[in-house]
């Protein structure tokens, strides 16, 4: 509803330059005239097709605005949002970031952090204990976080974690190799990097 008929119409491609000489371009999704806030949608930085990045631009600090093409069609209706789901997501994201920050504070190596993120994507029940990664309260991964460092009661849990760790380093190696060969990183790698 961003100022319908004024300034920007939803769906148009807009390019603007900030006062810091940053070039921004995207599709207008919303504009709030009172606050001069413009919301643009642009392709996801992660490259995932179903994801997108949202740029919220304060036009007060934009030196130049250019409408690349205007779209006159009425914007599609807005879908209702599951607010509680979003709130949960925000909380989880925050907890995750904080827990990661704890690990970083503990002086965990980058490899360790990367491994932790990889494991965390599969198994939510993992946390930092000092520099050790504790998965499901059963498996403890100590630096340098190699497969052989995975210890715990023999069982499916330990074997499962070992597979994850093994795959993680294999992917890291392949990523490095690909980078060396100047091959574009895979989504997985990008995800990891992100």
């Amino acid at each position: 509803m961003a100022a319908p008929g004024e300034f920007f119409s939803v769906g148009s491609q807009v390019s603007c330059r900030t006062c810091q000489e940053q070039r921004l371009q995207g599709e207008v999704v919303a504009f709030d005239y009172p606050s001069k806030m413009l919301a643009l949608k642009c392709p996801s930085s992660s490259g995932k097709p179903n994801h997108a990045d949202i740029l919220l631009i304060n036009l007060q600090y934009v030196s130049e605005v250019e409408i690349i093409n205007d779209r006159t069609e009425t914007p599609p209706p807005l879908a209702s949002l599951n607010v509680s789901k979003l709130a949960n997501k925000a909380r989880m994201e925050k907890e995750e970031k904080l827990s990661q920050a704890y690990a970083i504070s503990a002086g965990v190596s980058l490899e360790g952090q990367q491994l932790f993120q990889t494991i965390h994507k599969t198994i939510k029940d993992c946390k930092w204990q000092e520099k050790n990664i504790v998965v499901m309260e059963e498996v403890v991964i100590a630096p340098p976080y190699q497969v052989e460092n995975c210890k715990g009661k023999e069982g499916s849990a330990l074997s499962h974690v070992r597979k994850i760790v093994e795959k993680h380093f294999r992917d890291v190696e392949s990523q490095k190799g690909m980078q060396r060969s100047q091959v574009q990183p895979t989504q997985k790698e990008s995800a990891l990097s992100s």
């Binding site: 806030m37 304060n58 949002l81 599951n82 509680s84 949960n88 904080l98 920050a101 704890y102 970083i104």
Partner: protein
Amino acid sequence: RGQSTGKGPPQSPVFEGVYNNSRMLHFLTAVVGSTCDVKVKNGSTFEGIFKTLSSKFELAVDAVHKKVPDQPVGPRREDIVDTMVFKPADVMLVHFRNVDFNYATKDKFTDSAIAMNSKVNGEHKEKVLQRWEGGDSNSDDYDLESDMSNGWDPNEMFKFNEETYGVKTTYDSSLSSYTVPLEKDNSEEFRQREARAAQLAREIESSPQYRLRIAMENDDGRTEEEKHSSVQRQVSGRDSPSLASREGKYIPLPQRVREGSRGGVRCSSSRGGRPSMSSLPPRGSTHHSESNTGSIPEQRGINGGPSRMSPKSQRPIRGAKSMSSPSSRPMEVSAASPTVGRVYTPRSPKSASAVPVCSQDPPVGSTATAAPVSPSESRPVMEPSASPTPPSPKVPASAPVASVEVKEVPSSVTKEPSRTLEVMGPSDLVKQANKGLCLQNEQKRNQLEELRKFGAQFKLQPSSSPEATLDTFRPKEPLEGKVKDKPPEALAGAGGTCEVPEESPKPSLELSDGSSKEEKVSCEGMERQTQTSSPLGKGDTEDKEDGPVSEQVKKSTLNPNAKEFNPSKTLLSVNKSTSTPTSPGPRTHSTPSIPVITPGQSGMYSTQYISYIPQIHMSPAVQAPQMYPYPVSNSVPGQQGKYRGAKGSLPPQRSDQHQPTSAPPIMQAAAAAGPPLVAATPYSSYISYNPQQFTGQPTMMQPMAHYPSQPVFAPMLQSNPRMMASGSHPQAIVSSSTPQYPPAEQPTPQTLYATVHQSYPHHATQLHPHQPQPATTPTGNQQQAQHAAPSPVQHQAGQAHLASAQQQQNLYHTATLTATPPSITPGPSAQSPQSSFPQQAVYAIHAHQQLQHGYTNMAHVTQAHVQTGIAAAPPPHPGAPQVMLLHPSQTHGGPPQGGVPQSGVPTLSASTPSPYTYIGHHQGESGFSRAMQCFAGCEETHFQSHPSQQLPFHTPGN
């Protein structure tokens, strides 16, 4: 967080700032929980989890850390700020990364989602409803079976899709894609094969197995429901067999069962009870009442009251009864009262079992009680015999009722008797009254006790307390004189006495039973009604009315009755009262009240009156209404003229005349027929009121004080002179008070009061349920129910008087007391609303106002209106009487006089046995019940609610 953004806007109708921008809000809500880089104007960047935003576009970000270029490792814990809020002025760019807009998108395929679709992010869009184009309005004619097309023809679909969507079908009827067409040739081999195939097909198709299976496949003869509805299958299977029997049974059974239970029970009770009732056995049938009566004559007296009450309700029946014993009534006004008593007895049987029982009982017990009570009793006894005989037929009907009552009352009765006995111990009316008053303060218990006491008092007074008898005797003497003049009255009085005792027990029982009693009462009322209806055509009609009423009562005992009362009372009472001698019944009631006023009246009467009086005293308002109603009825029919005339002529004779006068009113009320009963009751109540007031006045100077309150009534009454006149008559008897009353009476206020009473009754009824007096209310209910059967109006009045009387009295007292003076003024204002009811309406309004003030009963007003509307004159009177009664009761109940007046009343009550006969039915029912209620209610109410009011009254009186 996100919720606030999401919910905030939609919830509040007026949104602020960015919240008005649903689209911006939507996207900023969708990015909640996403990682965002916030670049501020100084160039630094902060990374965090977007949390929410304010209406001022302030962004809240959780777990924020400042991004430092060239920092491979994530932020340390100490670098993270839990939450940061960025002002829009400081924000240059916010970059939400990797947002999945489908993450939080709700599904659109559930009903709720679809329903919510119209409301997106605060943007509420009314879903446009499309009119259903069902073709002809006569869509019912549409026959689904007739449409054999089974939906769209494939070709139509193809054509439609091609035209609408440009989709061209690739359908090939030959299904070449799926099969190979059969190539026919004329070769011998092919023919042989063809013949072979045809033969096999015939064989297969002719086989029974194939037929069976194909039948199953084609579900021949089976309906969709049979196929898919297990329930129906069960039904068809089980139901068909059992249902057939069940159905046959069902319809009949319920009805039969009901009928059997009702009719059978009723019949059994009625038959067994009635016969017994006619003779001594009836008591036996009404074990409770009878036992009580037997054990405690007083109780009987009390019961008699209720029975009388019921008679009131039964007034219509009385009319019929009166018809049976019209001679006595016609003979003399007083006679009419006796006849009324007789009538009551019959009525009681008809309308209410209790009443009938009472009536029946009264004869037996009453005779005994009456005999001890006063010389007049002898006559009463004689009369009772006479009365009983007439009642006997009626009694049977009543007997059933009584049995019903007994059922209800049993426990309570048994208990009550003991209580009554105890009360008897204190036999002194005054003491009892005082005690009763004190107890009344305690509310229900008190009320019950009071009722019991009343019963006891009645018994005691007649039999035990010579003094009381003396007092009563005085009245009785006059009454006797009257009786002499009107022998029938004596008889009636005897009957009344008898009834009174019974009534007392019943009330006590009812009181003890309380709510249960009420229900029972209602049930009884129903039964009674049914019974009554069966016995008497009139009774039937009335009963029918009562039946609903009783049912209503069962559900909501008080109110329903009240309503019913109004209509029935007005209509019936007016018509009947005018036309028939039954009016004597009401008059008798009034007469009883008169007797009360004039202790000298016939012993029987006096006793009855006394009994009534006590009731009146207890619940002056209640009784008063009755009294008033009578006057009203009189006034309505033109009897007022009679009254006045009677007054004019009678005034000297007042005591005697009063009865006559009252009788005329009663007659009038009786004439009202349905109304008569009601009217009669009201009149009786009025009379009682007057008596009470008057008695109170005569007995005590305080009565005068009461009068002050009455004056208020008087003013009210002034408009309704008729009522007042009736009331005045009693007063006239009283002498001192009479003068005052006359003025009051002169005004038609009575009618108004009557209306008021009705309204009050309603109120009272309504209130009563709540009140502790339930027992009384039950009695009242019973009475009401009974009354209702005969004449709704009466019932209402009776109920109102009885149950409502207490409550009303309370209210009324409060209202009247406080309002009484004001009431006059308010009355007018109130009148406007009730304008439809003229004066009565005004009065009613007053009452209502008063009541409303206390109770804030709109319903009352409405009821009153209704009542007034129905039988403007009669109802109003009842209402008025109640009001009056309330005042008197209050005043009486009031501190000082409470004892004396009440004592006087008790004495009266003691003597009342005969009065019961008189009032017996009407008064007995209405009066007793009312009195009981009044006692309990009035005392309670008075003490409780009206203390202040009482004080005022007293002060005036003093």
